[in-house]
Amino acid sequence: MADIRDAHEDILLAPIEKTGRGFYIGVAVLSVFILWGALAYAVQFFEGLGVTGLHQPVGWGFYVTNFVFFIGISHAGTLISAILRLSKAEWRRPITRMAEVITCMVLFIGAGQILVDLGRPDRMMNVLRYGRYQSPLLWDATSISAYLMASLTYLYLPMIPDIAILRDRLKKRKLFYSVLALGWKGTERQQRALNRAIAIMAVLVIPIAISVHSVVSFVFSMTLQPMWHSTIFGPYFVVGAIFSGIAALIVAMIVFRKIYGLHPYLKPIHFRYLGQLLLIMALLWFYFTFSEYLTGYYGAQPEEMKVFWAKFSGPFWPFFWAMVLCNFIIPLACLVRLGQRTVGKVLTASLAVIVGMWLERFIIIVPTLSYPRLPFPEGIYLPTWVEWGETAGSFGLFALFYLLFTKFFPIISIWEIREGREVGVKEVEERLMSYLPDEAEKRT
């Protein structure tokens, strides 16, 4: 493999070689949030779930919202990495690793939310020992395990050549990188095997990812509750997940572009393409939401209408309309014309979508529980500092995991950028030539 060293490549290795003051400040800030979360959970663990705002009938609140939200964000990696890789989109090269890391880290946080939500976390082994596959929670456990393993494999395999570069170039952590590099030398046999393995994983990871968020939605749609028992939930949640995943990826890209100076690699064109994808997902999300609510409204079942009006004009109206603003109006306003100030517009839209999609999960879960079918005393859910702390701690922990990853491995795939330069350009040219009509035979 020719060793065309990129002029900017040192930027990619810099975070691993040196640690600046900014890193420690970042860790300190994140630690504050994480400590808040840890304290909140410690209080909950010893006193019971009563320290939250949960009650009857609203037995699920922030924690389950966070669970769905974080698992949703994990779809960032799959879409960008696997689908773009399979469709041979060349612009994916600096983005794939960031996306895959999001997926791996956020799945831990997401699965952790369910453990935090348990009344008896000391009995979590019961799920392993006595699990019932008729329960959607077991479908969750299985598919999230499969997705976690697939994502970790799919993150690790393309990292191997980069780890080999670290092994050869860096002086520190020699043993660590040598072991993980699996003896990579860049030989033909190794390259063929790795490319084949990555291709297999790329194909495999897509249906697993779709199953993950479908199965998360089934936790709600398999019950008989008004506005939960809906057939649209599977595709709705998957679309929402991809939507929030792209937004999270864009934010991560912009953050690390700034702090590590990755401007040569993450150019406005990448944000433009991602912004266009975000726009498409916003429109798709809106279509699903519209279908869902129109169907409920037109059918006018009394129990469903109670929940419907609670969201539209009742106690939940601020959250519902904030959701529409953040998921549809702001993204549309920002992303329709991406000519100038691309990065700024895309950042605004993404931050809005992250907030909006969190609200969307909240709006799906809590209003339905708040309005039971029978004349049960209704309740208003008021989250406490414990739930806010747990949420802040979860975001903080995710950010910390991500930050720590960038200290050990390059956040942009060095060998894939090199491959793009050496091989990609020719491949694309050949592909374009194959689309054009064949040259006519010369007439004699």
Partner: protein, 83 residues
């Protein structure tokens, strides 16, 4: 021409076996767990169809993972030096 292995290289190779072995244990553990859940459902006469249905899809997927891991380990690490 392959140079003789240094102590460092031998240690690295041992740890690589541990690393990949650990991954296989994890995958094997999940497959075992799924089978255990099927057996539990049958023993308790609960709804074995759910367990068997899911196992038919899930277990092959985990087996493919282990296949990919073995394939990569074989071709990259163990036989990587060959052309």
């Amino acid at each position: 021409m392959k140079l003789p292995d240094s102590d460092f290289d031998r240690l690295v190779r041992k740890l690589q076996w541990v690393w990949v072995g650990g991954a296989m244990l994890l995958i094997g553990g999940v497959v075992t767990w799924i089978v255990h859940l099927i057996l539990t459902a049958l023993w308790l006469e609960d709804v074995p169809s759910a367990s068997i249905g899911i196992a038919l899809v899930a277990i092959p997927i985990f087996l493919v993972f282990s296949g990919v891991v073995i394939y990569v380990f074989w071709n990259v690490t163990l036989r990587g030096e060959d052309r």
